[in-house]
Structures are given as C-alpha cells and as structure tokens.
C-alpha cells in the first residue's frame, strides 16, 4: 500500500487501475456542455385578446428521477414580462441572475416610482419584444462560442404597441413568434390542443382570458399523463397591460395515476 501523503484519499492503482488523467488536460480541444443535467420539461403559452397565459410544472428531473418538485420555472422580468424555462435548470439559474442584473440596469434610468398609476410600466422600459431580441442574441452568441445555454425559452408580455407578444428561443438561438407555443414534449402533446383553441393571430385575438386559462390547464393535464417527466404541481402566469399575475403552487385537481396500478403488461412486470 502506498502510504505517501500525495496518495492519501486516492483510489488504489492496484485495485482500480491507473487514474486516467486525460480529461484534465489543459491543451487540446475543450469540451463545454454537451447535454443538460437537471432538466425542466415543457413550458406552454398561448395568447388571448388582452395578453398571454403561460404555464409550466414545478418539476426538475435528474435523468428520469423526479429530483426537485418545487422548482419555479416561470420568472417575471420588470413586472411586465414572463420568461418560461425548459431544459437545463442550472443554465436557467444563470440566466435568472443575468436578467436580474439587466433589470437593475433598467431601473437606473426608469424610476419605478415614476411609473403611470394605471399599473403599466413607465415608457422606455424593456418590453417583452426587446427582451426576446436580447435573449436571442445571447443564446446565439453562446451557441457560436460552442458553449450553449441548454434551454428553450418562452417570452411573454407586450410589444411596443402594447399588443400581446409571445416568442420562443432555443439553445441554437433560433427565434420565432406564434399565437401558441410550447417547449419540449409540449410541442408534440400540447401544441395540437392549443392550435385547436387558436391557430392564427386573429383567432387568438378573439379569445378571452378565461378560455386561455382553461386550455392551458387542459394541456397541463394531458402533459401530466403523457409526459413521464412531468408533475401535477405547476405554475401559471397571466401577463396583461396591468402587469403579471403569477401563481406558483397550483395543483391539477382530481387527477390520479392510481389507475396505473391495474395496468398489466408493461415494464418489468411478469404477470
């Protein structure tokens, strides 16, 4: 046995083989993030005539393990926009800190106490469209640096003309807008439902807040049953001219996976 201090606490070569230090090499190609680690699943969002509704469950998975069950994946920016995060949770934390600093910068010149009394943000503050453009540039730069932030983001709020605004950005910097949007599994499972509610801007502009919330809940229900990385605890935000209404501890009511007990013929069951 090697008793020299420099060997203390190290796996023994005679038991485990020589330590492979190749990944510690400082020269040669560098590996940045190649896959997400702790992840959030779908975020869904849909416009209605006065604003946007967004929802995401409160789960952060570690692989297939339901690791954290109280994670807040909808973040408010400057009391006037909401960002929904799918994908890597630590990259979400980074973005959250970054956006916090951006919000502080914004407050230098736009004194919140000078805001109009009707609840709207003072003119000149970054709106959802500005924020979306900024995040797109950020994500695209990181992808070109070969060090992407492993997220897909939905940005909801109002544009410069105070019209509802909803857009997405992914880890490649791809960005687009749509009357309804979903990330991750939601783009396969929730989008068809939301498109039934509104497939065009015109249709979305004729829908009410209540209708939009109803459809969002319906989508969350479907996701809870069909997406294996989902949860019945979720957050839902409504953005309008009046600001952001965010509820972070909602429960899909009267839902149960109990029926699964009786299902036979799947997985490791032999009977």
């Amino acid at each position: 046995m090697d008793h020299r201090p420099q060997a203390w606490g190290r796996p023994r070569d005679d038991v485990y083989g020589a330590y492979d230090a190749s990944y510690l090499q400082t020269s040669g190609p560098k590996n940045a993030t190649q896959s997400p680690v702790v992840t959030g699943t779908s975020v869904i969002a849909l416009k209605f005539k006065d604003g946007v509704v967004m929802a995401a469950d409160n789960l952060a998975s570690y692989g297939s393990l339901a690791r954290f069950t109280d994670v807040k994946r909808l973040r408010v920016f400057l009391d006037s926009s909401v960002i929904g995060f799918g994908g890597d949770v630590s990259d979400m934390q980074y973005l959250d800190r970054h956006l916090n600093e951006l919000a502080i910068d914004e407050a230098y010149d736009n004194d919140p106490s000078a805001a109009p009394s009707d609840g709207t943000s003072p003119p000149g503050t970054l709106n959802a469209a500005n924020l979306h453009k900024y995040l797109q540039k950020l994500m695209y730069k990181r992808r070109n640096d070969f060090d992407p932030l492993w997220n897909q983001l939905l940005v909801a709020g109002l544009d410069a003309d105070a019209k509802p605004y909803l857009a997405s950005i992914d880890l490649r910097g791809t960005a687009f807008t749509s009357p309804t949007l979903a990330t991750g599994f939601g783009s396969a499972l929730a989008q068809p439902i939301m498109r039934r509610y509104a497939s065009t801007e015109e249709q979305a502009a004729s829908r009410t807040r209540e209708e939009a919330i109803e459809v969002a809940k319906e989508c969350m229900k479907v996701l809870y049953y069909r997406d294996a990385r989902s949860l019945d605890r979720y957050s839902i935000a409504v953005v309008t001219k009046e600001g952001v209404e965010l509820k972070q501890d909602e429960l899909l009511e009267r839902q149960s996976w109990a029926f699964a007990e009786r299902i036979r013929g799947y997985g490791t069951q032999t009977v």
Binding site: D109, P123, G124, L126, A129, N130, K133, Y134, K137, A160, D161, A162
Partner: protein, 262 residues
C-alpha cells in the same frame, strides 16, 4: 507661454478648483458657427448657420443624422465631432441590434458625457473641442440635449451654442413658453428667428448657409407611436422656411416697398 501655471493640462486644478484646459476647450465651441435647437411636445428641430472657408469652397455641414431617431448639431472642432458622432452611431446600431428598438436618447447622451469626462481627468488626453445639441425622439417623447467639452450633458427645452449664440438664447428665453405647443413648422420658424438674432450685421439666411433638421414623434389614440425620422434639409429645401422666418420689420419693409410701387 502660458497664462498661468495651472492651465497646461487637464489634470491640474487651479487654487480656485477650476480646470482651465476644460474652460479653454469650451472657448473652442464659441469659435464655431451658431446652432439652435428647440423641442416641443411632438418635435425637435435643429437649425444651423454653415460657413465656407472661401467664396468658391463648399459649406461645412453642421447637422448630422446619427440614427433613425437621433441627430446632432455641432459647434467647434468638426473632427472631434466626427469622433463623437461615429461613437454615437455605433451605440445606436448596437442597441438596435440587441434590443430591436431605438436607443433611448438620454442613455446615448450619458455615454458621450462619460466618454468626454475621461478626457478631463487623465494626463496626455485633451477635452473634446466641440459642443453638441442632440435632438432625438424615443418612447418618452422628443428630447433636446446640450453636450459640453467638460462632459456636462443637460436636457433643454431650447438652446443655442456657437459664435454669438447668447443673442439666440435671449430670443429663446423670451419665447420659451410658446415652444411646448408649437407644431413642426412653427418650431422651425422660431429656430430660424433665433438663429437670425446671432447673425453678424448685414449677414442673412440664405439657401446656401442655412440648415434645418427635424425629428418628431406622436402618440396615436390607439397607443401606437408614429415617428418622423430625423432628417436634414439643405439648399432649396429650406427656401420656404427662410421666407417664412422673415421678421415683421422685414415684412413691413417689403410691404412698404409695395406701397411705394403703387
């Protein structure tokens, strides 16, 4: 060689706490021909007198567009103005690229202020020898700023800098209350009238020596904003305005002549 021991550079305070180099730089602004700016609730106008070095040479431009929504009027060293103008153009483009909107005019002006201040605190640098009037419109409406070589930037309702500009400022102070509700044309008229006050005797506004620039913004009833992008007018495009700015005395004189003819 020097007037006193404290005016050799911009890193020495005089015993009274003044920095003479910065004050001398402000003198360079007064060497430039006069420029006037006025803001209303909807528009900002800049007007300027252009100079030519000699009879056959062209006139030096005084008004420059920075971005769709901002422009400047300069008085002082033109080459220093170009440094600031290029910087401002880059900032506006960068802001448009990252946020997809017009750069707020105050942020822009603050940036050149900070840039200029550095030149007044480090050895081997000199203050900019130029003053600017910055006219722009953003989500907070129209704005007019004055920039000085010291790095001082202030938002004004109306202002004039350059040679003999005190006369123009006196005119502006007299008519200050009228500006807020002025329309575009009225504002230009006031601008040119102020400009005239600063002219040396028997010099006149002509299509050759007069520049006008306008930028505007108005909030429509449905909440959308309508922009009139910054635009500079020269030559024949300012002819009608010059005619419109003929003061009452001139107009009376012209009328008097008519009477005589009759």
């Amino acid at each position: 060689m020097f007037r006193n021991n404290y005016d050799n550079d911009s890193v020495t305070f005089s015993p009274q706490g003044r920095i003479f180099q910065v004050e001398y730089a402000a003198e360079a602004v007064k060497q430039g021909s006069v420029v006037v700016g006025i803001a209303s609730k909807t528009h900002v106008v800049l007007v300027a007198i252009k100079r030519n070095a000699e009879e056959l040479s062209s006139y030096q431009k005084k008004l420059f567009q920075i971005d769709e929504h901002v422009g400047i009027a300069i008085a002082g060293l033109t080459s220093d103005a170009r440094v600031l103008s290029n910087f401002m153009k880059q900032q506006c483009l960068g802001h448009r690229l990252t946020y997809g909107r017009n750069m707020p005019v105050r942020s822009l002006v603050d940036m050149i202020g900070s840039k200029a201040q550095i030149n007044t605190q480090h050895y081997g640098k000199r203050p900019y020898g130029v003053g600017l009037l910055v006219a722009g419109a953003d989500e907070n409406g129209p704005h007019l700023f004055e920039f000085q070589p010291s790095g001082m930037t202030e938002e004004m309702v109306a202002f004039a800098i350059g040679a003999r500009s005190q006369m123009a400022r006196t005119y502006l102070e007299k008519n200050l209350d009228a500006f807020a509700d002025c329309g575009r044309e009225e504002l230009v008229r006031h601008g040119l009238k102020a400009l005239k006050e600063s002219l040396v005797q028997d010099k006149e506004l002509t299509v050759e020596n007069t520049s006008v620039a306008i930028v505007g913004v108005a909030k429509a009833k449905d909440g959308t904003t309508k922009m009139e992008p910054f635009k500079v007018f020269d030559g024949q495009d300012v002819n009608a305005w010059i005619g419109g700015a003929a003061d009452d005395k001139e107009a009376a004189a012209a009328e008097g002549m008519d009477v005589d003819d009759a």
